[in-house]
Symmetry: C4
Subunit: 225 residues, 4 copies
């Protein structure tokens, strides 16, 4: 963010407006807790990070990994979490139509790809939400992350071709360097938690450790020290 | 921090002095818990990080995000946290006048901008605390982060023009590479927590996960694996 | 991950297939909770991160540090944790033979070495699981991490020479930039926890801190401020 | 860690030996829980990370920040934590004399300086444990971090001139790139916790947030959105 007077509006305009009015499920905020959605339950926390720009809004919403109990009483991760990206087009100044949102579930390794992007790199990901089912191939989603022509920002672009609903949409949103740094910082933070490694570390209790005091070596738990 | 004998005083002087005397709300420490402030309550922790230099002191104070309960029993972040920067001028050796402090609330994305700064980059942010209200435009704050002429440190500079109080002040404080690295490390740490993603990850409980065992796919929760 | 049409299959193929069928302890998933293994107990969480490719699968499994109680009631780390790497060869499309897996326990400092790898760097580690015992030298394991010829990915290669079982195997798996970024992110996360520093920070309680209010200086706890 | 056959011993030798025998307070392990030390109490966790080399051993030990309770029931950090470095000379193969150890308390901003070190950079820090007291100037400690001549490792060197005890010692220990990466990773992790920001984030509870629902703007809590 070098100082450049003509760019002050970049800092000021896109986020200076008060957040859109909080009407229920309307043009304002992304609906962060659909009552029927998996995961809407006591104790859950919805922590959507939203970026509002002139033509679109983008919200990022982490979703937890899934666990199953084992016979031993321990738990095992059976499905990694992800970050749900929601893109909504602007319909008026500071008004976004979340009923027309398009979504993309960013996996842990796709987040890793985003983390590796140099200032001039691009990447794209393809998803088919019906892959392996009868409607496979009818919905095609492409998420692109690419530098803006001036090299100071990036575009996040979600294109959705949905032949079931006859929808063919593309939503662009510019992301400044500072916002991208926030995304990088949060992806770095959230990746181990989406993999269940945060839950693993929370389960480390010194007082449960006595069972470990015997040597663990052997061909399975080889440990050279 | 290359070894350079003439710079030893950089390492030694600015922080070697004992911290300023801890008089109550006086010239010594930044007042970290104003009783009437929002957030001063049981269970809170005030963890101000202060840097004391010859002409000024700078303290950094994280402030938590705000949540609202949902009908489902879950919680939702409605406002991101921030880091309150407090600048106080020195009035004597190791004495800082916190009654004349100037403050700046650094947002998550502004922290992201600071994280992206290369050694020779600058950035600046503008705030109007009365934006959208009747006194809009009467107070103008500018925070600049820019390299020192020798390139070994950075200046944090807060300028405040307050026409309501007839105040026009500018406070500079040099920040060494090591101190800036601490700031970078703490911003990287705190950003996900200010966005509520830390609270999200704390809410991940393996034993609450049984509800997730059914397939989640579909046009909404598309997931290509 | 620059956009390159011929590489789309890189993004899509290796992980697009549904995860292998979850037969118990069979060709599908790595056995993440062997009942007789040290550490399989109530409250434990198994959070294996697996990467499935055409010729092999690699799973990463963090294992906790070991603690012993002290007379004072405190705990002390006596053995660092590690990350268990498990390599399994593919026997058919999307079928991996975990009964023929080879394992390698990656230590904290070996993870540190992986973190320092530039895009064209390689490193290798040698383990003898029987080092210091009668069968020393009979099993020799070498883990290599090296760039692929096109420079876009890395190979993780585990070679095991086991004279006790007359096994001489070498398993390769290509790791994309995005997957390597995930590994880097998780290693950065897990290292302090494997060293017990996560447990240390969890033990920091403001309300236990009164005992610290006396000065701590002196030749032992020297502190120059 | 590029592959180079003559360097294999670098990977294998310094840490391959079994850890020194765990005699009580003797030549083996650094004494991590002196009973009379501040902080040795129920619930504490000692998580010393030790590096053993041919001529010396270095252990790193995090020490928590100090808090005081406020009238409001909240807590406030009054002293940052630090990392205690302990250097012990080798007296025989795999035997270190911890009774002759020299210690250095690395502050948060000194850790920040270490984090900024490029591969060929050096830095040094000076401490006087009696600064501001009658014995000021009688003990002088210098910690240097500098690249080894071949550029593949770093030396950590602690020099202590103690005129009170007529001691003038200098202990060197080589730290490989992988070990330095572990130190960087753990410093990045521990810095926010030593500043009390980890305790701050632990205190964020969604259910305590209702008090925050009123607007916070104004000259003090200026917030431009």
């Amino acid at each position: 963010c070098p100082v450049a007077s003509q760019r002050h509006s970049d800092y000021f305009d896109p986020r200076a407006p008060p957040p859109p009015p909080r009407r229920r499920e309307a043009y304002g905020m992304p609906p962060s807790s659909p009552p029927a959605a998996p995961g809407a339950q006591n104790g859950r926390v919805f922590s959507t990070y939203s970026i509002y720009k002139g033509k679109a809004a983008l919200s990022l919403d982490p979703r937890p990994p899934q666990f199953v109990p084992l016979d031993s009483g321990a738990y095992k991760v059976v499905k990694e979490g992800f970050v749900l990206l929601q893109f909504a087009p602007a319909v008026a100044t500071r008004q976004y139509d979340w009923t027309r949102k398009q979504v993309f579930s960013l996996s842990v390794w796709e987040m890793g790809s985003v983390l590796t992007l140099g200032p001039t790199d691009s990447c794209e990901f393809f998803h088919d939400p019906f892959k392996g089912r009868s409607d496979e191939g009818k919905v095609r989603k492409v998420l692109k992350v690419e530098p803006t022509p001036d090299g100071n920002s990036r575009f996040f672009n979600l294109s959705v071709q949905n032949r079931l609903l006859n929808v063919d949409e593309s939503i662009y949103i510019p992301i400044t360097k500072g916002e991208f740094a926030v995304i990088v910082s949060t992806f770095n933070y959230i990746i181990p938690h989406l993999m269940g490694w945060g839950t693993f570390t929370n389960s480390i209790k010194p007082e449960d450790s006595q069972a470990y005091t015997k040597p663990q070596s052997g061909p399975e738990y080889e440990w050279r020290r």
